[in-house]
Subunit: 297 residues, 2 copies
């Protein structure tokens, strides 16, 4: 998938350059906060969510300049969620992408404010008049992102995850699918649907993208569980086997590695099939789906 | 100020009723999160910021239904900031409005997610198509609120405050005025200006409201310092003298209580004067200004 590699690299460079413009330069009285926002945002990562925003926008011919603020915003929200989830009171992780987590590098208070500020900046970026020219689209994007990120989306998923851990992880398959849908699926769904919102695409197309998003989100989580089960910390750049040790239910635990892998591939077949109305324009999105189950970290 | 008391009470009831509709009912898998969001939001308080939104909207004849989502949103953002600021890693407060703080009543992880979720819900409320009928106004409100709440507004102010505390609070008068402008002033300014944004008011009116907001914000902080200096924990419903003990610079410390009180009143005279273009329509806003320096908690 040479094309996908190139496209991911090119999109990541565009996103990083946009994020550099959005996050204030580390100077003045809030220097430490701006530094921590940059540290966490520029720590690497595949930039998959903003890539999905840009690829989804391309499907409908939305100009890149109109899509870029939303692409940057989704990466800010993703980064905020990692910074807060890593906190001692939450998942208590010291390492993220081979680097000290934000609260380890700075301190807990700075990490809390860094997450808060990145979340807030995401909405500022989307709502700014320099973004999508149609203010109704900007308002719709803010609304959809807020639903995806909030108590009935990602933040709610993290709450369910923490609760399950306290109860020694007695989640069954339906429950961890529901958990995944909120905790990681909601943001992926927004990423895939954003281009359709920007283009005011017709319902049939939005529905297809929603199904695609649900499929790749679920396959992504199953693959994460497989990697956590089968890789070394060296390969992943973070601690492995933590979920199993914490007694959290994972797809691998519930299904076994072979069945989990089989399901992930079947789900990705479905994701590819549902893109057929978009024809060859959706080649990159099909490659992404394939990449999600074949990645090594 | 019987009229103001009635108006505050009436607005608070309207706000509480709106917040009850916005925050999901405490049931389902995220029950604990919804409970904590309600606990923190309904713990009381003067509801001053949403009152300012509604009073500002009234100045321009903006229908209450168009202003209410923003009024509810500003209270969500204010509540989020209290929940996060109270955390052990931040100000480490056990008591807020005579009740255990969110992380004391629930736990730290729940408190972090509660703040995150309230902040996110605020943007959802403003951006929803059920709010202000003009989507350009909704986008502008989201943008202005994000700037007020983020790293160059409230969250940035909290960062500066924490940094100053670590350095043993060697802030001079200019520095604490700058700190106040960000930490508490930015949200008050948004609250006062929101009605003008909704009505697309002319620049002269927006400017007057911004000056009014800057004045009442500064006077509010000076009065807070005076109350912290002169009241008992019983009167305030929270610990007193904490700032002075923590070595934080306060207006009272830098100016003395008498001079601080004199300045607060002079600033409030200015706030009242700047409302003159609005004539008798601004009576309530003038009463609020007076109330801010005369309140006992």
């Amino acid at each position: 998938m040479a094309n996908l590699d190139d496209a991911l690299r090119e999109a990541a460079a565009t996103i990083i350059s946009a994020l550099t413009r959005y996050i204030p330069a580390p100077e003045g009285a809030q220097k430490r906060l701006f530094e921590a926002m940059r540290y966490s945002t520029f720590a690497g990562g595949k930039r998959l969510r903003p890539f999905l925003v840009l690829a989804g926008a391309d499907l409908f011919g939305v100009p890149r300049a109109h899509a870029l603020p939303t692409a940057a915003a989704i990466e800010m929200v993703h980064t905020y969620s990692l910074v807060h989830d890593d906190l001692p009171a939450m998942d208590n992780d010291d390492l993220r992408r081979r680097q000290p987590t934000c609260h380890k590098k700075f301190d807990e208070a700075t990490a809390i404010l860094t997450g808060d500020s990145l979340l807030t900046l995401a909405f500022e970026a989307i709502a700014a008049s320099s973004g999508h020219p149609d203010p109704a689209v900007r308002a719709d994007l803010v609304h959809a992102l807020a639903i995806a990120a909030g108590a009935e989306g990602m933040a709610g998923g993290q709450m369910i995850d923490l609760e399950a851990e306290k109860k020694n992880g007695a989640l069954d398959l339906d429950a961890i699918i529901h958990l995944q849908r909120l905790k990681t699926g909601a943001l992926i769904r927004f990423s895939c649907e954003a281009g359709a919102i920007m283009a005011r695409a017709r319902d049939e197309h939005r529905r297809a993208l929603r199904i695609y998003a649900a499929c790749i989100g679920l396959a992504f989580q199953i693959t994460d569980d497989l990697l956590d089960h089968e890789s070394t910390a060296e390969q992943l750049g973070k601690a492995v086997g933590k979920d199993a040790k914490a007694g959290k239910a994972t797809f691998v635990q519930l299904l076994g590695a072979d069945e989990a892998r089989r399901r992930a591939h079947a789900i990705i077949d479905e994701a590819e099939a549902v893109l057929s109305p978009f024809g060859s324009k959706s080649a990159l999105l099909r490659d992404v789906a394939r990449y999600i189950v074949e990645r090594k970290n």
